[in-house]
Assembly symmetry: C2
Homo-oligomer: 119 residues x 2
């Protein structure tokens, strides 16, 4: 059974915060940098960033809260890395919506462009 089908309706509560974490420009760029360059420290991530280090720190905290990244200490540095599982869950949420919609369309078939007569 895929992870997608393992997402119960009750877990929909978790979806919004997850996507909200993805829904910020700065955070999304952080994820992109992290995913393309592998684990990095905060200062390393700040390198060419427009915002301050504290801002980056806060965003990383948000991403961590959403389960999208995790961190570990290495000496005086803190290394951050992606958490692919959570991404997969986001994936599953989208799949669920798509599937439901396809199902609904199967029952109703094009509506706006081809309105059925009102009863």
């Amino acid at each position: 059974m895929s992870e997608a089908s393992a997402l119960g309706t009750s877990r929909v509560r978790d979806a919004a915060p997850l996507f909200a974490a993805l829904g910020d420009r700065t955070r999304f760029r952080l994820l992109m940098r992290l995913s393309s360059s592998g684990p990095r420290s905060i200062t390393s991530l700040c390198a060419r960033s427009q915002v301050s280090r504290q801002a980056i720190t806060k965003h990383l905290a948000v991403l961590a809260e959403a389960g999208l990244v995790r961190s570990g200490r290495r000496g005086r540095e803190r290394m951050w890395e992606l958490e692919p599982k959570r991404l997969a869950e986001a994936h599953a949420y989208l799949d669920r919506i798509s599937a439901q919609w396809d199902d609904a369309l199967g029952r109703l078939s094009a509506y706006i462009d081809n309105p059925p007569p009102r009863r």
Copy 2:
């Protein structure tokens, strides 16, 4: 060529607003209701909702702005329906990140749990 690979790096700008639209509890529930029941009118969507009709209207506007839904007039009603293409794009963004991460890990292999000696 899949839609995923058609997403250029420049389009990353569009990703954040898209996920931001998904990242609100009320909006996400709206999408769920829409996707599972097919096209509906605003008042229909307000039925068992906790928030006011205007709130719903605003949320639908946000979703429309993000390209996730579209609407059409039918008499005095306005019917709203899902826009699966945009969902697929969100999908693609997530895929891109996952793929990049896998690639990066392929180069570096587990870091935090198995730190390489510092140079």
